[in-house]
Each structure stands twice: as structure tokens, then as C-alpha cells.
């Protein structure tokens, strides 16, 4: 497995799961927020060969340089929302890479030992918090807490622009983000 190291700031992450789990959304939000922080960003989706439903993933790259490839065979981080995605992407993660898995869905054991794997019961956390649909934000919170790719404030700004008037949606999402951040801080990440 090759390994890419670069001088300038560079991060990439693959987010993978079922369609409908809100991964595309948090991917875009992450990229958008990083853009607002002045960075080069790309977000690219990828859908499985199935026509409806099935798996979907997206890749976000954040860098200070011109971004070449928007996809990577060796991501530095993974946000994994279901078993098939774990199977597909775990082997590709760089060594020392970060694997955030939503343990509410991901039940398969994680095989790699050379990576930092953090299971997060995102759906439980989100449900507790009052909105199961915000599990994706929990995962995003965990990711930014671990990587500092963007600040929480930038994400919140991005959310505001997107949700505008819909205050309750905004609130839930911010709270989910915070819960996600907390969940990994507890695990002493960063």
C-alpha cells in the first residue's frame, strides 16, 4: 500500500454507507466549511452500480495546494456507516489512518491493527439527543474533533447558511455535532 505525504496542509476522508444516511450532506458541509476557511477543497460522490438504494460514498479533500486527484486509493480517514462499506474501505485506509465507524450499524469487527479505529454509536447518541436523523452530524463532529480539519465554528456557519430559517433543524444539528465531538474527546482523541 503506497503512502502519500505532502508538505502543505492536506487531508482527505472517505465517507461511506447506505444512501439516505446523510453522508453526502456532511461531506459537502465539511468541504464548504473548509472552503470558507480559505482552503482548496473537493467533494466527489460515488454511487454503487445498483440503480436504487445500495451503497454510496463521497470523498472530501482539503488542502492548501491545488488539489489534483479528488479521489484517493488510500484515504487518511474513513467515516463508515455500514458493514459493506467497512468491508470495501477498511483495507484502503493508510496506516495510522483514522477510522470512525458508526457502531449503531457497523457490527463487523475491525481487522486492521495499524490504524486508529473509533467506533461511535452515532444513532444512539442522536436518538438520545432527540433526532435519530442527525447521526451523520455526530460522525462529522467526531471527525473534526479528531482531525481539526475545520473548526466547529466554520461548520456551524455552514449549517446556518444551509438551514437559515429552520431554527430547530439547525439547533439539533449543532447539538449533534457537539455530541460527536464530545464522544471522541472522551476517547482522548486529538
Amino acid at each position: 500500500m503506497g503512502k502519500t505525504s505532502r508538505k502543505a496542509f492536506y487531508e482527505d476522508v472517505v465517507m461511506a454507507g447506505f444512501g439516505g444516511q446523510g453522508l453526502m450532506f456532511i461531506g459537502k458541509l465539511l468541504a464548504y466549511s473548509a472552503m470558507k476557511e480559505g482552503r482548496a477543497v473537493t467533494w466527489i460522490p460515488s454511487y454503487g452500480p445498483e440503480m436504487r438504494g445500495g451503497t454510496a460514498n463521497c470523498t472530501v479533500v482539503v488542502s492548501d495546494d491545488e488539489i489534483g486527484s479528488p479521489v484517493t486509493p488510500h484515504p487518511r480517514a474513513l467515516i463508515i456507516m455500514n458493514n459493506p462499506s467497512l468491508e470495501a474501505f477498511e483495507p484502503k485506509l493508510q496506516s495510522n489512518g483514522l477510522l470512525l465507524s458508526n457502531s449503531s450499524f457497523v457490527t463487523r469487527p475491525i481487522a486492521r491493527k495499524d490504524i486508529k479505529a473509533i467506533p461511535i454509536p452515532a444513532n444512539e447518541i442522536a436518538t438520545e439527543m432527540g433526532n435519530e436523523k442527525a447521526a451523520n452530524m455526530v460522525m462529522l463532529g467526531a471527525y473534526i474533533a479528531c482531525t481539526n480539519v475545520v473548526s466547529k465554528e466554520s461548520i456551524v456557519e455552514g449549517l446556518k447558511e444551509l438551514f437559515g430559517k429552520k431554527i430547530d433543524l439547525l439547533d439539533t444539528n449543532i447539538r449533534a455535532l457537539e455530541e460527536g465531538m464530545k464522544s471522541v474527546r472522551q476517547k482522548a482523541c486529538t
Binding site: G2, S5, M35, W43, G68, V71, T72
Partner: protein
């Protein structure tokens, strides 16, 4: 408006078209470029323009013919099978010397194929998939920002040369989101169009036609069209040399593949290999000279395409035996990774030694 927007390539192209003065869009849905039509369907009415979903791609391209003949800036977009259906119409548009912009977000073929990215319509786009001697001008962006810039340029070139211009991308270019800025052109290009069909009021009638039964006349027209294209070949070649000054091996790639190659080159340079990229931006006119000059210096050129080998023919024509031309491809909707390109270059580097 120089604020950065975060947009997918398809939407960026649509917005760029509107800002370039495009006021008509005719099209028929097809993946992976539906966002262009969808965007246009709400955006054009805002600026007093016309969005019309045609009954087919065949109808679309002839609606474009009609609107272009009426003097407006007009666009259509589709993906591979739909573009094939437009080949007769594109030939007619070229023959009638009508300006328009056509977007092809290539998908894997032939036939219905798949909906994943591909570059296997290069021949069709650059050599003329329709009948008769004509060429579109073909521009291939590799970022969303470039998609914006080239779309705006495309409308100007179309008017300047009275010729169809194609934006050639793929699903990755269309669906990838990136920051883009829309800069109004410093001096907007305004074409005088005295030939348009608007009612013969206070002037002799205008006729937009392509039939010339007398071969003596048609030959003259064809030769004039050839001369016009040679003019474009002189003026409109665009390419990006990327780290080629000191390169021993140069990669040739466009669009999606070119940006993957850029990452590969960074990795290869970290490994100590002097590798560069010569990225055609205009596929027609093709940067033959740039490749010819490069071939004088470098031992090997590696063409990477998402096709079984199409642009590689143009590279070979340019290189004319002066350096070795290697070829690497992924097809059917597979996108080469930078790892594969790195490996391929390393293989070549070893062979050369």
C-alpha cells in the same frame, strides 16, 4: 461577483453559461448531466431566457439550430448516447456556421454502457462524429473553476468562429463540487450578427442553409470553412504545461485524468523522478506543436486516457516518432488512480534506464 461559491461542475457550467449571456437551453435528460438542465429550468426564466425540455436529443440540437439562427446565445448538454443522436444536427450547425455550445459529460460506452465517467468520445468530439468536413472546437476542463472559465470562453469562440464549441467533461467533472468564482469578462465579446433570421425588415432576406447543389460553390464553402478552422488552429490552441521544464517523462492527459496525474506527479517527484504533465485544454485544436516540442526533449510520453486509445493517436501524430509514446488506460467507467499512474511511470523509467 467574485465571492467563492461551492458548486458541482454541472451547475457551475450552467451558471457560467447564463453569465456569459446564454438565454436559451434545449435538452433532454440523461445521467450524469441532469443537473445542467435542472439548473437551467429555474435559472433561465429568472433572466428572461427560455428553458425547454425537448422530446429528444435530435429535437434539442435542431432547436439549438433555430435559436442560434435567431441570434441568441444557446446551449444544449447531454451525455454520450444523446450526443451520438446529435451528430447529424452538429454537422448541420457547423455547415450553417451557427454559433452554439454543446456540453458532453461523457459516460462509459459503447451502447447504453454505464453511467460512470469515461473519455471514450474523444474521436467523436474532435474528428467529427457527423458527416462531412467540419470540426467543433473542443474544450476539456479539469476543475470546476476551469469549467466556468471555459464555458464562458466557449460562447465567445462560438460567436467568433461561427462554429459549434463543445465542452467535453465526464461525470466526475460534472458531479465533483469545488469552489468557483464567476468573474465577468473584462471586455465582453459582442459579435455582430447580420446574418440572423429575424424577419426581412428593411433589408434583403437572410437565409440559413446548408444545401449547395453546385459542387463548385460547395467546394468554395468547404475550403473557406477549412481556412476558418486553420485560423482557429492558429489562435485557439490551449494547454497547460505542468512541471515539464526539467521532465524526463511527460504524461499526456486531459480532464479528470489530468488532475489525477498531477497527484501522481507530486508523488513521483517525491520519489525523485522528473515527471511532468502536458495537459491539452483545447482538444480541437490539439496542441500538436507543444507535443512536438516536448518530444524533442523527452524520452517518453505516457498517454493516460479513460478510453481504449483515442487521444493517443493525436499525440503520436504530434510526436512523429521523436519520442516513445506509451499508453495506459482504464475503461468502462473505471477511473485510473494515481497509484496506477505512478506505477506505470516507474515501469517506463525502468525501461528507459
Amino acid at each position: 461577483m467574485t465571492e467563492k461559491k461551492f458548486m458541482a461542475g454541472n451547475e457551475a457550467i450552467a451558471e457560467a453559461a447564463v453569465q456569459a449571456g446564454c438565454r436559451c437551453y434545449f435538452g433532454y435528460p440523461i445521467t450524469p448531466q441532469n443537473e445542467i438542465g435542472e439548473y437551467m429550468s429555474w435559472r433561465l426564466p429568472q433572466v428572461g431566457g427560455c428553458y425547454l425540455q425537448a422530446e429528444s436529443e435530435v429535437a434539442s440540437i435542431y432547436m439549438v439550430f433555430g435559436a442560434a439562427g435567431a441570434g441568441t446565445r444557446v446551449m444544449t448538454s447531454s451525455s454520450s448516447p444523446g450526443i451520438s443522436l446529435m451528430q447529424e444536427g452538429i454537422s448541420y450547425i457547423a455547415a450553417a456556421e451557427l454559433p452554439c455550445v454543446i456540453v458532453n459529460m461523457m459516460r462509459a460506452g459503447p451502447g447504453l454502457g454505464g453511467i460512470q465517467p469515461s473519455q471514450s468520445d474523444y474521436f467523436q468530439a474532435t474528428k467529427g462524429g457527423g458527416h462531412g468536413d467540419y470540426h467543433m472546437l473542443v474544450l476539456a476542463p479539469h476543475t470546476a473553476q476551469e469549467a466556468v472559465n471555459l464555458t464562458m470562453l466557449a460562447f465567445d469562440l462560438a460567436d467568433k468562429y461561427r462554429n459549434p464549441v463543445m465542452i467535453l467533461g465526464d461525470g466526475n467533472i460534472g458531479q465533483m463540487m469545488e469552489p468557483v468564482e464567476f468573474k465577468s469578462p473584462e471586455k465582453p465579446f459582442v459579435a455582430r450578427k447580420e446574418w440572423i433570421v429575424t424577419g426581412a425588415k428593411n433589408r434583403p432576406r437572410n437565409i440559413i442553409k446548408t444545401l449547395f447543389l453546385d459542387p463548385v460553390i460547395l467546394e468554395k464553402r468547404n475550403l473557406a470553412m477549412g481556412a476558418k478552422l486553420r485560423e482557429a488552429v492558429k489562435n485557439e490552441v490551449r494547454f497547460e504545461p505542468y512541471m515539464i521544464e526539467d521532465a524526463d517523462i511527460v504524461i499526456a492527459a486531459y480532464g479528470t485524468v489530468a488532475r489525477i496525474a498531477k497527484t501522481a506527479i507530486k508523488i513521483l517527484r517525491e520519489k525523485g523522478l522528473k515527471v511532468g504533465l502536458l495537459r491539452p485544454i483545447s482538444l480541437y485544436p490539439f496542441p500538436y506543436q507543444a507535443f512536438a516540442q516536448t518530444a524533442e526533449r523527452v524520452k517518453s510520453i505516457l498517454v493516460v486516457e479513460m478510453s481504449l486509445g483515442q487521444m493517443v493517436e493525436d499525440v503520436k501524430l504530434a510526436v512523429c516518432g521523436k519520442s516513445r509514446v506509451h499508453f495506459y488506460c482504464r475503461v468502462g467507467g473505471m477511473v485510473p488512480s494515481y497509484d496506477e499512474i505512478v506505477a506505470e511511470v516507474e515501469k517506463i523509467a525502468k525501461e528507459v534506464k
